[in-house]
């Protein structure tokens, strides 16, 4: 006891000396001390011991005892506790636990408490070297993006260049795969996407928001003029004014309306970084405010989540599949690859940059035949060749049934596998053969639906049925394309059914296209962004699994039990009511819990705090969003955005955020975790990165963290939000939570900026996905899910389905709604509700528009904004000084409409009109037109929400209807349009 008292005295005395010494050594710390004058007491709660610290004019003084009137009090319950927690070698768990049990308290105004806490933390970090001297005054930093890890060369506070990372000699040796007498190993460098190389133009974009802004005719104390949102223009305001205004509105709305009145939502993606990501800082802030979240639909996974999961489980992956070590298996054993709605050369496995491209070149080197099923002759087909089969959009499930028909009638399937590893086959077989409805699903039958010649279908089925085949369904296993059609649920479950017939998991019979499944070390722990960074959100992220116990912190939890389905935001806001189904990947049944908005006893939303401006480009029937903003249903709209674009232009107040190049963060290449568990198996090298703050934030912009912290301090939740840690402190805490400290020191990591996680030796590589299942063994792949309770036959025995098998007839759908005509327990053909079967509409709008994820941008990121990407000729077409979005159509359709290549045309239907530049191409058949979604620019020719868009937001045209009623699912790829030459008015500047 006396010893503890003495130790506390020494530590506190030493603290003053350390502060003074650090200020002498480090000018930046001296400057920090000059920021504030304050008195702080560090004391025991009972006042029996303490020391008074005075910060004045940059000088720190202290004396024993508790004197004067303090602005900050750090109070400890006992000397023993103080002795432990004041020790620089303290454990973070101990520290957080003491705070949570009130054994330690930080009292005072948030502004002062957070300042003091961050200042004390700086003692540990100051003097660390970040980045490498590249000569001539250039420093080489590291960062990470949605399209790859990069070196960032900086001179005089300005980014010179951004390049891929070339591995150094000391970095871990790569892996190699031996296959068919050849040895394959990837190059020792990282790859990047075009949108990553565009970052310099995005950082220094003329559309950057450099100051807070207020709509000119918005007066929070008078006329708010919501009807003018989107047209009335902005005036620059100071940060203090902006933060005061936003904080006051948050406070007002909470006071006047109670829980639930604050709505926040983001795009599906953000600038990269585990701490700055939308699942981290944003959640921690809003959980501490209390908010109605926008519930995301499983976006690019729709059919897999709402369909495939019912037949093979994998709910934690949104219904997608395992991905382990399939690169080796494919190269060694596979005889054919079928790409079905799969264009990895355009979609890059979401975050996989071009790492998969080199591996697919090996595919070509081995002469493995390829088939591409896609209404568009896509970029993967163009690069690697093979047979192109182009079904009408939304008819894929008819092809599935006909393939099964050929296999069933010609005996081209794995009968023992079907008998032992699946259930419900006979029931499905009876439907496929037409025994119950009199319609055999023959190749000739499907031809009427799909337009695919019966002979081609038969040839495909026969090849597939006799060759060991990998099925690349979607950009990875899941993702994009056909799963976003009106019957995407049927296509996705059809993929599972076909694999169930061919023996999923047998050598050479699996899913993928070398996009995933490299033999990297999956056992080295580094969390993906879905683990929630420092959010502490145990319900809304995967934090509970690993990050939370490994990175001691206070949890954050939303006190409001209300949410709005993202695809129905306009209806919820304008009509004041809607319902939805949740994206709850914990179990297969999580999706069945219909919820209603508003929740019992909760307020409707009155304040919309939007993060970024993407929805008009990325959601469906998006004139709805523009019109919503221009009603008085929302009392206040604030948008926190990097650029002035899209929806940001509808806000009352805009808060300028900075990019990841202007803040600290930490992350791993392509590691999102969660719904793409072990997503880094897309990469040739696992690379963990300290995302240096390469330059200061441009203008007056701030990091999201800092904006939230500044608001939090005004709302009295500054410490709850930050725990007194700065962004850099959190990076260090995150680093400590990973396996990195066992491999590299913080100091070395901070300087070099990255660490290459060595691959495992060949004899310790992961087993191949589903081999365990095919061979009837316990699961041996390194996947923690499904939850133990979801196994019928004990942990890691069988699949997540009720029977533990692939279910041609789904148990979960039989339990939930066996008579749902939109989603029967077995896969049946349900024609697309927006397509040739929608007779009246089809007569009016005879072109089927497909709008896949974009190739050169990352959603809306890097489109518009005078980005370099706009110069890519297949991204936009420059005509008359404006960069027009591109619509691709067959020359026959063009001729019928008098349209020539590069003509400006209007693509339209009852939902709206979008002006595009026409590209005439044989890459789509007659009747199909193609245009990417995710345009960043919304530029209405007249009244927002009611006039043609010149920006290219093709999603203005797509249906807002759910694929099936009992879901929250996008069907953007089922869209009927007509095309005509644009009018003068529409194209006028």
């Amino acid at each position: 006891m006396a010893l503890d008292t003495a130790k506390v005295s020494v530590l506190l005395y030493g603290l003053e000396k350390l502060l003074r010494l650090t200020a002498r050594r480090h000018p930046s710390f001296a400057a920090r001390l000059k920021e504030k004058d304050l008195v702080a007491h560090v004391r025991l709660r009972d006042g029996t011991q303490g020391r008074t610290f005075t910060f004045e004019g940059g000088v720190v003084r202290s004396r024993a005892g508790i004197h004067g009137d303090p602005q900050v009090v750090l109070s400890f319950e006992t000397a023993a506790i103080a002795a432990r927690l004041l020790d620089p070698r303290r454990s973070q768990l101990d520290f957080v636990s003491a705070a949570k049990t009130f054994q330690m308290e930080a009292l005072g105004d948030d502004e002062n408490v957070v300042w003091l806490s961050q200042t004390l933390n700086m003692l540990a970090s100051i003097g660390t070297e970040y980045g490498v001297d590249a000569g001539n005054g250039v420093r080489r930093f590291t960062s990470n993006t949605n399209g790859g890890v990069v070196f960032v060369y900086v001179k005089d506070g300005k980014i010179l260049r951004i390049t891929p990372i070339e591995l150094a000699a000391e970095d871990a040796e790569g892996w190699s795969v031996e296959a068919r007498g050849k040895s394959f190993s990837p190059p020792r460098k990282s790859t990047v996407n075009a949108h990553t190389l565009a970052w310099k133009s995005l950082v220094y974009s003329p559309d950057r928001l450099l100051t807070p802004m207020k709509r000119v005719d918005f007066d929070p104390d008078g006329e708010r003029n919501p009807q003018n949102r989107g047209t009335s223009g902005y005036v620059r305001i100071s940060w203090d004014e902006a933060l005061d205004l936003v904080a006051k509105e948050i406070q007002r709305v909470k006071q006047q309306h109670g829980p639930g009145a604050i709505l926040n939502g983001s795009g599906s993606h953000h600038t990269w970084g585990a701490l700055g990501y939308w699942l981290s800082a944003r959640l921690r802030f809003f959980n501490n405010v209390g908010w109605t979240p926008v519930a995301h639909n499983p976006d690019s996974w729709e059919g897999w989540y709402w369909g495939a999961a019912h037949h093979w489980g994998q709910s934690a992956r949104n219904g997608g599949g395992e991905t382990y070590n399939t690169v080796e298996d494919l190269l060694q054993n596979c005889e054919m690859v079928v790409f079905w709605s799969s264009d990895p050369e355009a979609t890059s496995g979401v975050y996989g940059a071009h790492d998969g491209t080199v591996r697919r070149q090996w595919l070509k080197e081995l002469g493995i035949p390829l088939v591409h099923i896609d209404p568009y002759y896509n970029h993967t087909a163009a690069l690697f060749g093979g047979k192109w089969i182009a079904p009408r959009p939304g008819s894929d499930s008819a092809m599935v049934l006909a393939i099964a028909h050929v296999w069933m009638t010609e005996g081209l399937y794995d009968k023992s596998y079907v008998a032992e590893r699946t259930v419900g086959f006979d029931k499905w077989k009876s439907y496929v053969l037409g025994e119950d409805d009199g319609i055999p699903k023959t190749p000739e039958w499907q031809e009427k639906e799909t337009g695919v010649p019966a002979k081609d279908l038969r040839a495909l089925a026969r090849e597939w049925g006799t060759k060991k085949t990998y099925l690349a369904a979607g950009g990875i296993i899941g993702f994009g394309g056909a799963c976003r059609t009106a019957n995407g649920i049927d296509w996705a479950r059809g993929m599972v059914c076909l694999m169930g017939m061919q023996g999923l998991g047998k050598p050479g019979v699996n899913m993928g296209c070398l996009q995933q499944g490299t033999p990297v070390d999956t056992r080295f722990y580094f969390p993906g962004y879905s683990e929630g960074g420092f959010s502490g959100d145990l319900a809304g992220t995967a934090a509970a699994v690993n990050v939370y116990p490994r990175m001691p912190m206070a949890p954050s939890m939303n006190s409001v039990q209300q949410m709005i389905p993202r695809l129905k935001i306009p209806e919820a806001v304008v009509d004041g009511a809607c319902d939805g189904y949740p994206t709850d990947p914990r179990t297969i049944e999580g999706q069945f819990f219909r919820f209603q908005y508003p929740s019992p006893g909760h307020s409707k939303v009155k304040l919309y705090y939007k993060y970024g401006g993407s929805h008009i480009g990325t959601m469906t029937e998006t004139n709805r969003f523009a019109r919503m903003y221009r009603t008085d249903a929302l009392e206040f709209v604030v948008n926190q955005s990097i650029w002035l674009e899209g929806e940001a232009k509808f806000a009352d107040v805009i808060l300028p955020a900075c990019t990841n190049f202007e803040r600290w963060d930490i992350s791993e290449l392509a590691n999102c975790g969660g719904y793409i568990h072990h997503a880094f198996t897309q990469m040739n090298h696992r690379i963990a990165v300290l995302q240096h703050k390469c330059i200061e934030p441009l203008g007056e912009s701030k990091s999201d963290f800092q904006i939230f912290l500044d608001l939090a301090k005004r709302l009295g939740i500054g410490m709850a939000f930050s725990e007194g840690s700065s962004e850099l402190d959190w990076c260090r805490r995150y680093f400590d939570a990973t396996d990195l400290p066992k491999a590299i020191s913080w100091e070395e990591f901070a300087k070099k900026g990255y660490y290459v996680i060595p691959p495992l030796p060949a004899n310790r590589r992961d087993p191949v996905s589903y081999r365990w299942f095919a061979e009837g063994r316990a699961k041996d792949t390194p996947e923690l899910t499904p939850l133990p309770g979801d196994y019928t036959h004990g942990f890691r025995n069988g699949l997540q389905t009720q029977t533990g098998k692939i279910e041609f007839e789904s148990s979960s759908l039989k339990r939930f709604d066996p008579d749902d005509p939109e989603r029967a327990p077995i896969l049946k053909y349900v024609p697309s509700w927006e397509g040739p079967h929608a007779t009246e509409l089809y007569a009016k709008y005879p072109l089927q528009l497909v709008s896949p994820h974009p190739r050169f941008t990352f959603h809306t990121q890097s489109d518009g904004k005078e980005s370099f990407v706009n110069d890519i000729t297949d991204h936009r077409t420059r005509i008359g000084g404006r960069d027009w979005w591109i619509v691709r159509l067959n020359p026959a359709d063009a001729a019928a409409r008098g349209v020539a290549d590069r003509d400006l045309v209007t693509v339209f239907n009852d939902r709206g009109a979008v002006v595009c530049a026409a590209q005439l191409t044989g890459r789509v058949g007659p009747g199909t037109v193609h245009s990417y979604e995710s345009c960043a620019v919304y530029d209405p020719a007249g009244e927002p929400g009611r006039s043609a868009d010149r920006g290219g937001c093709i999603n203005i045209l797509t249906p807002s209807r759910m694929q099936i009623k009992k879901s929250h699912s996008i069907a953007a790829m089922s869209c009927l349009v007509e095309i005509r030459k644009a009018t003068e008015e529409e194209v006028a500047p």
């Binding site: 990047v192 190389l197 310099k200 002759y377 970029h379 047979k387 010649p453 019966a454 040839a459």
Partner: protein, 281 residues
């Protein structure tokens, strides 16, 4: 490779997928950056020092697409050098550079390049083009930015003297782009045929007992008079593609012979790539 040779692009058209990393890396390196002695900054928008040109061949459903990265060819006999009156020069290592001071206002130089590789920088009033990132190569970089960021190996640079380059071209079947311009371009291309030649494609099918099926293994011959120009065997989908034909080369005879003595003979007029659709036998 010797240190004394000429820097040359090696460009593989078959490996280019139009990812545009080359174009964007070039912009990243040059927009907003002045590299003294090499080039003034590139304008933010519009410059195409590395221009990826698209070529689509055939008609739905038999199409293919190729992309040709087309930078400055760094010609040994560069017309821009000749036209420039000393404003453009070729260094001993083969890199052709525009001197921005001497070339100021010389819009005419844009027209001097038959490859269209010179851009006009309106703001600075200078002609500009690919420098092969000379400022980087001169300071120890092994390759220019476009090559560094190319994920497929479609772009490479080597430093070879003329004799070595000629040997490489012969052994690997590399060709210069448009040698008819007579400028002795140093860049060498692989698979240019994907861009410059055309094909005849089709799907062979046969009806048996009222069912139409693809015919695999049929022999397809394209001939002109007695000369067999190209042959192919149909794949599992009955597809054939006879490639490498000259555009506008006129009439050919196409013969398909399948199993059981079934076959067909057709006349084909080749103006550009042509899809015959289904060829019934």
């Amino acid at each position: 490779m010797t240190a004394a040779g000429t820097w040359r692009f090696l460009i593989d058209v078959a490996k280019c997928e139009d990812c545009n990393n080359c174009l964007l890396a070039c912009k990243d390196e040059h927009v907003g950056n002045h590299w003294p002695g090499v080039t003034l900054p590139q304008p933010r928008r519009g410059a195409r020092w590395m221009n990826v040109v698209r070529k689509e061949r055939g008609q739905y459903p038999h199409v293919d697409v190729a992309y040709r990265p087309t930078p400055c060819q760094h010609c040994a006999d560069a017309p821009c050098v000749a036209a420039s009156g000393g404003a453009i020069a070729r260094r001993p290592d083969g890199i052709v550079l525009i001197d921005p001071d001497k070339a100021k206002g010389r819009r005419d130089l844009v027209e001097s390049c038959p490859y269209g590789a010179i851009d006009w920088n309106e703001e600075l009033s200078v002609p500009q083009k690919c420098t092969l990132c000379a400022h980087l190569l001169d300071t120890g970089w092994k390759e220019p930015r476009c090559v560094q960021s190319c994920p497929t190996g479609a772009l490479k640079v080597v430093r070879l003297d003329d004799a070595e380059a000629a040997r490489l071209a012969t052994t690997e079947g590399l060709l210069p782009l448009h040698p008819e311009h007579g400028t002795k371009p140093t860049a060498l291309y692989r698979s240019l045929a994907r861009f410059e030649k055309c094909f005849v494609a089709g799907s062979v099918a046969a009806e048996t007992n009222g069912v139409v099926d693809c015919v695999a293994g049929a022999n397809v011959t394209l001939s002109r008079g007695a000369e067999v120009v190209a042959t192919a065997t149909t794949d599992a989908f009955g597809d054939f593609k006879l490639d490498g034909l000259e555009e506008g080369s006129g009439r050919y005879a196409l013969a398909v012979s399948g199993p059981a003595g079934r076959g067909i003979r057709l006349e084909v007029e080749v103006t550009t790539s042509v899809s015959l659709g289904v060829v019934p036998i």
